[in-house]
Symmetry: none
Subunit: 462 residues, 2 copies
């Protein structure tokens, strides 16, 4: 038996106990957004510290202005071994509507769905307690066999991920020296499908803006004033309609600065993807690709920037009709960013565009709603290549390198505050019910997830 | 004291009681467009019937499919006396945004604005309860002094004017014999300025439409779907933005069919008008003429058709931000018509235009919100001439013959269904806040309005 296969066997032998440990953690109601569960959050942090300590980590609960962080260090085989920071979060979403749960969200169990599929039930099973425990159990199996880990490991478990992570940046700032590693491992993403592992290599950034157009200083009668007085909804419509040209490209000046074409081999790989997401649009009643013309769905979702109107309001919107020319109209607009797009510059150029469309006697007000840059991890960094091989070996299907249309702010914070790239590997599935009733985590995801981290750690150490 | 001056004196003596009666009517929340106020509308109709009956009218509440009509008859001094049909409406506009009202819209009061100007506050004070009561109070003063009215009078008070008058045509059709008179008196228009009375001789028509665009069958996360899934707000913005070209002309096919250029002598007369409306736009915080380029303000308001967006709604419009792609977005759109424009054809061509802009996998639904053609009344009919003289005597300034940007569909219906011309006299001012928060009616408009109708009735009887 090779070194690696004995560790994998050990993980298999440990599985029942690993599940029992996860269930202990799942029973703690660590809902971060609800102050009623403050003590539960602390209890989850303490449980993790105890478990890490039992494993040989130097671990502690760290106070923040909100829920505590858990930090643990494991020295690794030598001072020059690769050093990874593993990130997960122990807090969970609220459980309402509770009446839609088939089982108690805080009394986890193994459920047989038939066809050989078993799942672990409960709030947090997939997001993110089940995922973070895959790494902890991988460490345990390694330690059981070899008495040490193959790499230096720091773990950081957050308790506020589901409530906006207010304490995270200050904590990273204050403890940069302690937390900086060669790279971060983040386990909060999904697989391509139940058989196909995936590494998420790009995350879109976000710029949120609200614009409020004011024309007359009061609502006007459209008979008395119509045709002579400015209509803010009409002005706003022209502004919003002008944000995309007829090919679906965003027209804001310099918008595509820093956007690179996806390498053709990556695009081909995406084009060849099959699996559960083929009816992605059909599931929501759509059939046509919107957005930029001439691009595939996955490219549009993972590798292209967007401008979306998220809300609009103005004039009379109740039942019936009112012949009014409104004084004000407003819209919420967001941009999803990729590559090196600069959120500040895009906000500035968007505002300049809007101002350029305003009649002289009308005004516009802007409200800023947050921003984060996109993250593009190297498609061919050595870490990604090693992880890809390790995952492909475990799952017997080649691991895919995919993108995510959404944002995971921690990845940006690691890059900006700690100068550290992240490797995003996770074992969630699209039907996990994350943030919904009946959240579950596939037993296979949990088991093979543990084995995957064993392989990845071994590969990183090699 | 002449017969006329004793009636005018009596109106002066009655004024306090007249105001108190109007306030009773204003306290009734007769918002016709909102089904929640159905009983209030009925209550307003019943109040009017009671008041007319007390005055000696044979009056009754008449059922319709919607809110009821009020019809009253007064025989006049002889069977061959001139017979007028007086029209007004007892329904009012909704009051939102309620937070912008300085006073309770349904608790009217007399407010002193300084410089001797007093106003009557409340929703409906100017549009149209205050106006219709000028005529009722004129009848009362006449009756008080002479025991009868100088002309035969039929009154028709409608309860659906602010919501498209769906029951009006069927009612006129069914009761044509009862309602037909020599001509109609309509009191729902304005003065030129606070000192200058006006008779309105042209009215724009109206087509009201609501469009509801549906894309996906549920709201989507803009990170997961943004860039690939259709956004109904973006589709709607493009549709609305395309309704006007860069010169401000409406782009709907055939829209200008039936629109004639205003005769140059009328345009010159309008250009020479001075008075309170010179700062018409300035009063509402605007300074630039919107709409079609190269036309004067009065031409734009009185003689040119428009397309206005009266309301728009979609996606998240609350505090903060939500990265959502909405399933639906909707807009209320209206067209003001002039000359011989055909409302049915314009509605049809508008819908064809909207449908032509819809992506294949999205749908659009249309709701019809009433229509009426434009109207041009004779500039020199005997009735108009008599009324002009009467008004000029009351206000000590020559009455002007003007146009109106608004629609009063009843005028077309009287013409088409009852073969009867209308005389449009009203005492509203441009700062009345009709359809807006803080609606008011000048006490002087109310008082001299009553006196004006006394003079007009006397002139018509002569």
């Amino acid at each position: 038996m090779t070194d690696l296969s004995s560790v994998l066997s050990r993980a298999d032998q440990n599985l029942d106990a690993s599940i029992e440990r996860l269930f202990e953690l799942l029973r703690i109601k660590s809902i971060s957004t609800d102050p009623a569960f403050k003590n539960d959050c602390r209890q989850a942090a303490e449980w993790l510290v105890a478990d890490l300590t039992a494993l040989g980590f130097e671990a502690s609960v760290r106070q923040t202005a909100g829920h505590p962080m858990v930090v643990g260090h494991y020295p690794g085989p030598s001072a020059d071994a690769p050093h990874v920071l593993f990130y997960g979060h122990y807090d969970v979403q609220p459980v309402d509507p509770i009446e839609l749960w088939e089982d108690d969200p805080f009394d986890p169990k193994i459920k047989d769905l038939g066809n050989g599929r078993k799942v672990l039930t409960g709030r947090g099973s997939a997001d993110d307690k089940g995922q973070l425990m895959t790494f902890v159990e991988a460490c345990r199996a390694y330690k059981d066999v070899h008495g040490h880990l193959p790499v230096r490991v720091t773990v950081l478990f957050e308790g506020e991920e589901e409530s906006g992570s207010p304490s995270l940046k200050p904590f990273l700032d204050a403890h940069a020296d302690e937390l900086k590693a060669d790279y971060a491992l983040v386990c909060d993403t999904g697989m391509w499908d139940a058989d196909t592992p995936a590494i998420t290599a790009s995350l879109r950034g976000l710029v949120g803006e609200e614009i409020i157009v004011t024309a007359a200083n009061r609502d006007l009668h459209s008979g008395m004033y119509g045709g002579a007085a400015a209509n803010p909804i009409q002005i706003l419509s022209k502004i919003l309609a002008g944000l995309h040209d007829e090919t679906g490209r965003v027209t804001v000046e310099g918008f595509y600065d820093g956007v690179e074409e996806t390498p053709s081999n990556i695009k081909s790989a995406w084009d060849n993807l099959t699996g559960g997401r083929n009816d992605f649009l059909g599931e929501v009643g759509l059939s046509e690709l919107a957005g930029e013309k001439g691009r595939s769905m996955l490219e549009l979702l993972w590798a292209r920037p967007t401008c979306e109107i998220n809300g609009i309001n103005g004039g009379y919107t109740g039942q019936g009709f009112k012949t009014v020319i409104a004084s004000k109209a407003s819209a919420k607009v967001s941009f999803r960013l990729v590559g090196q797009q600069d959120p500040a510059k895009i906000r500035e150029n968007f505002r300049a565009y809007v101002r350029s469309k305003m009649p002289k006697d009308c005004t516009v007000e802007f409200l800023e709603h947050g921003s984060s840059p996109a993250l593009q991890l190297g498609y061919d960094s050595p870490v990604l290549t090693k992880a890809k091989t390790a995952l492909s070996e475990e799952w017997a299907k080649p691991a895919l390198v995919i993108g995510s249309g959404g944002s995971i702010p921690i990845v940006g914070d690691f890059q900006n505050l700690l100068g550290m790239e992240s490797l995003l590997v996770g074992f969630g599935l699209s039907d996990d019910g994350v943030h919904s009733p009946n959240e579950k985590y596939d037993l296979k995801s949990f088991h093979k997830g543990i084995r995957s981290w064993i392989r990845i750690m071994a590969a990183l150490a090699a």
